[in-house]
């Protein structure tokens, strides 16, 4: 394509949607690893999730190692 011309579209605007998505991911991830005590799975599993603490077991060691209060 020898006749192709290149134009430059400058889009320096900060993508607000991307920032919002990242903020939600930050909050969700922090809650899951740092604070969840069965809340997340309880949405689908009900009370069982609080008794079994699946996420708590998975995130337990990281929670301690990363400095979050645990038990």
């Amino acid at each position: 394509m020898p006749s192709a011309r290149e134009i430059t579209i400058s889009k320096s605007k900060t993508p607000i949607l991307a920032i919002a998505i990242l903020a939600v991911i930050f909050g969700f991830g922090l809650f899951t690893v740092g604070y969840d005590q069965g809340h997340l799975f309880s949405i689908v599993l009900g009370q069982e999730a609080f008794d079994e603490l699946w996420i708590h077991e998975l995130t337990h060691d990281m929670r301690h190692a990363a400095g979050f209060p645990c038990h």
């Binding site: 991307a18 690893v33 998975l58 995130t59 060691d61 979050f68 645990c70």
Partner: protein, 243 residues
């Protein structure tokens, strides 16, 4: 800005750094966790809450397996989450961060974030191994820790606004302001209410390794994020070809 590329870059670098954090924990923090949980088990036997039976150890090994393996997954989740925060801060601050390239700016920013939202909060509320915490106070401790991190983080944002408005030879006032502000908060905020009953050697060893591992995470995040940004340049002006 190429939004999708930006999002993928942010999340993938956070996820990678988080998995590195998980591996570091397995290598250097896990021995202390095992020791601490060993003490917990002895306490359970002594108080009669659990019986030192083969059945207990089967169950114990079962959930310890989940807990250890979970490090990598939990690292990936936590890393992605802090990576997301890092991405937000980077976008808003990259034009003013020192450094001749985006890669250097990313490493510089990871240093600032490590110091302000990890290390200072750690000094106030250091990490504790199992056996130290009282389950009754876990919600309070969680709120205190998160509040302290948030105060320090927003403190940086606030004093940065001041920094921008100050003349060149008065910029130090912003640093000083942040230092005074954080020292005050440090003193005012209540202590961790729990008494440490575990051996101090164990607790200190655990804390040192925990700081190492989290520091590895922040270094990895800065390097990986910076390298990706340098390579893919999501902020490069979009070029379109017209025929």
């Amino acid at each position: 800005m190429k939004t999708v590329l930006f999002l993928i870059l942010v999340l993938v670098s956070g996820c990678f750094a988080g998995m590195i954090h998980g591996l570091a924990n397995l290598a250097i923090v896990e021995p202390y966790l095992d020791e601490a949980i060993g003490i917990e088990n002895q306490n359970l036997f002594a108080s009669g809450e659990e019986v030192d039976s083969p059945q207990f150890w089967v169950e114990y090994n079962n959930y310890r397996y989940w807990q250890k393996g979970g490090q990598i997954l939990a690292g990936a989740i936590l890393g992605t989450s802090f990576g997301a925060l890092f991405g937000i801060v980077f976008v808003f601050s990259k034009n003013v961060l020192p450094g001749s390239s985006n890669a250097r700016k990313a490493i510089f920013l990871s240093g600032i974030m490590w110091f302000t939202i990890y290390f200072i909060p750690f000094l106030k509320y250091p990490a504790n191994p199992p056996t130290v915490g009282d389950p009754e106070t876990v919600v309070l401790r969680g709120i205190l820790y998160l509040a302290f991190i948030a105060i320090s983080g927003f403190g940086v944002v606030g004093f940065y606004q001041l920094y921008k408005r100050l003349q060149k030879n008065k910029k130090f006032v912003a640093y000083l302001g942040y230092a005074v502000f954080m020292s005050t908060v440090f003193i005012i905020m209540p202590q961790n209410p729990d008494e440490i009953t575990a051996p101090m050697d164990l607790v200190n060893g655990f804390r040192i390794m925990s700081v190492f591992a989290v520091s590895i995470f922040w270094i990895a995040l800065g390097i990986i994020f910076g390298a990706f940004w340098q390579k893919f340049q999501p902020d490069k002006p979009v070029k379109a070809e017209i025929h």
